[in-house]
């Protein structure tokens, strides 16, 4: 089955290495992915702050696009960004629950010759990797196990709250299991779903920087060699503001922050450029012993 892929705006700019590594990992696992044609922005948190109906209409167009074609099976729409994932799920849920809203959105879609029937399933790559592809298949593809590497798995808010479909909102473990399958050791830390502040780092840095200092400090205190994320905004906040945190809050929080898919790619023996590792501000952590040097791409 081919997964329809909704990249969202960040995966085409600040989060480019998320897209690069995600597609590389899916290629390595021989799972076909097809980008949604001429998709539009999901609306994120900003649209919802200005106009709700427009926000839902915007997201619904992508859902409608994902339902086009297909052969009776429920189309699977992969949304790697946590904000996109939440917005798409929320739109589905609210349209199903509130007929007045549904009518307004439907009127919008009709004006652009689209219809949405609620058949599409919105999926996060973490969910697809663990529940569709499975840990066994992933384990088999590992060529350079990440033995000895301690990893803080950071889920952030919006993939498990409030519409979690594949893990619990309180203590999610999907990513920890996946990391263990790569040969690394997930560290136990209590802040795995604590908010990074989203755009507060830019809008109200007095608050945003502190939230990230707490997350980074705790991950370090628990002995993590690296922190991994599945959201472009979390990655951006936790990595790119480390200098500002050092400067403004006088805290040494230096820690490599990579995407889950970059870590997977390392374990699969994929090259740095395939995974976009050269785009990082803080160089990625490496497993202590890398057997056979740099593995060639299969």
């Amino acid at each position: 089955m081919t997964y329809r892929y909704f990249p969202g705006c960040s995966l085409k700019s600040s989060g480019r290495s998320y897209e690069e590594s995600l597609l590389a990992v899916f290629r390595a696992l021989e799972v076909p992915v097809q980008e949604l044609d001429d998709w539009n922005c999901c609306g994120a948190t900003a649209y919802m702050s200005v106009d709700e109906v427009e926000a839902f209409a915007l997201a619904a167009r992508n859902l409608a696009l994902a339902e086009q074609g297909g052969n009776g099976q429920a189309p699977q729409l992969m949304a790697p960004c946590s904000a996109c994932y939440l917005v798409l799920l929320k739109t589905q849920k609210y349209l199903a629950q509130h007929s007045d809203l549904d009518q307004k959105v439907r009127a919008g879609l009709t004006a652009v010759n689209l219809r949405y029937d609620g058949r599409v399933q919105v999926r996060h790559p973490l969910d697809i990797l663990v529940n569709d592809i499975g840990l066994d298949r992933i384990k088999k593809r590992v060529k350079a196990p990440l033995a000895g590497m301690k990893v803080a798995c950071y889920y952030g808010c919006q993939i498990v709250r409030p519409f979690a479909t594949f893990d619990t909102a309180y203590n999610p473990t999907t990513m920890d299991k996946l990391v263990a399958a790569l040969g690394a050791t997930p560290v136990a830390w209590p802040l795995k779903t604590r908010c990074c502040g989203g755009t507060l780092t830019g809008t109200i840095p007095e608050v945003g920087l502190r939230l990230n200092r707490i997350l980074l400090g705790e991950a370090k205190r628990r002995g993590a060699d690296t922190l991994i994320t599945v959201c472009p905004l979390c990655q951006f906040n936790l990595e790119c503001y480390q200098d500002a945190i050092q400067r403004e809050l006088n805290a040494n929080v230096s820690l490599p922050i990579v995407y889950l898919t970059q870590l997977m790619g390392q374990a699969f023996g994929l090259s740095d450029t395939e995974l976009g590792l050269q785009r990082l501000f803080v160089p990625a952590a490496r497993p202590a012993v890398q057997e056979g040097g740099k593995a060639a791409h299969a």
Partner: protein, 203 residues
């Protein structure tokens, strides 16, 4: 001239008179936020306890709910609280009365933006509005141009502070100053216009 206390410390009335309240405010916000459960809040404070930014707020989420219900329109819309909410949904998940508190915060942001009740250069609504209009035009968000507009409209000097990070992002291929566009951006404006004509913002 007698010395006034006002010269040393700000003296102002700290309570709101009932005549200044908007009795329909609670209903209005509840309707906007699909929050019919707003009125079943038991004031337990779980939302405030679980909120990662409540200790920076002028009114905690629990107090905001109480104030919305009682019609403290001006105080609520002028609060810092609604702009500090980063939509992490902790309160929504934890609320024992299943009140969609995040949606209530969204409704309050929408109301504040629609009625222009916020300081002109206040960063959060400025960012939301710039994001909104960029997407309306191009169908997609352009991170680089959005950042530039945001700093120009809030605090141009802070652009310098952020210049080194922006430059680093640019050298890493993570930031472009060009606008991202859909192939057919007109589709989005047509879609949004039609949805809006069909009934607008639940009001």
């Amino acid at each position: 001239m007698p010395t006034s206390a006002q010269e040393h410390r700000e003296v102002s009335r700290k309570i709101t008179y009932q005549s200044e309240l908007d009795p329909g405010f609670g209903e209005h916000i509840a309707k906007m936020a699909y929050g019919e459960k707003l009125f079943s809040c038991i004031q337990c404070g779980t939302c405030s306890g679980t909120c990662p930014v409540s200790h920076y707020m002028d009114f905690t989420p629990r107090r905001i709910i109480a104030m919305v219900r009682e019609g403290f329109r001006t105080d609520v819309l002028n609060s810092l609280t609604i702009w500090l909410c980063a939509s992490c949904y902790s309160c929504t998940v934890e609320c024992p009365r299943e009140i969609k508190i995040t949606d209530v915060m969204y409704a309050l942001k929408q109301e504040a933006i629609a009625t222009g009740v916020y300081p002109k250069r206040f960063p959060v609504p400025v960012l939301a509005r710039e994001f909104f209009s960029g997407v309306e035009r191009n169908g997609r968000n352009s991170e680089g141009p959005l950042m530039v507009k945001f700093f120009l409209k809030t605090n141009p000097l802070s652009m310098l502070k952020n210049a080194s990070m922006a430059f680093r992002l640019w050298t890493k291929g993570r930031l472009s100053l060009f606008e991202e566009k859909m192939r057919t951006p007109g589709v989005v404006s047509t879609l949004l216009r039609a949805a809006k004509q069909a009934g607008g913002n639940g009001k």
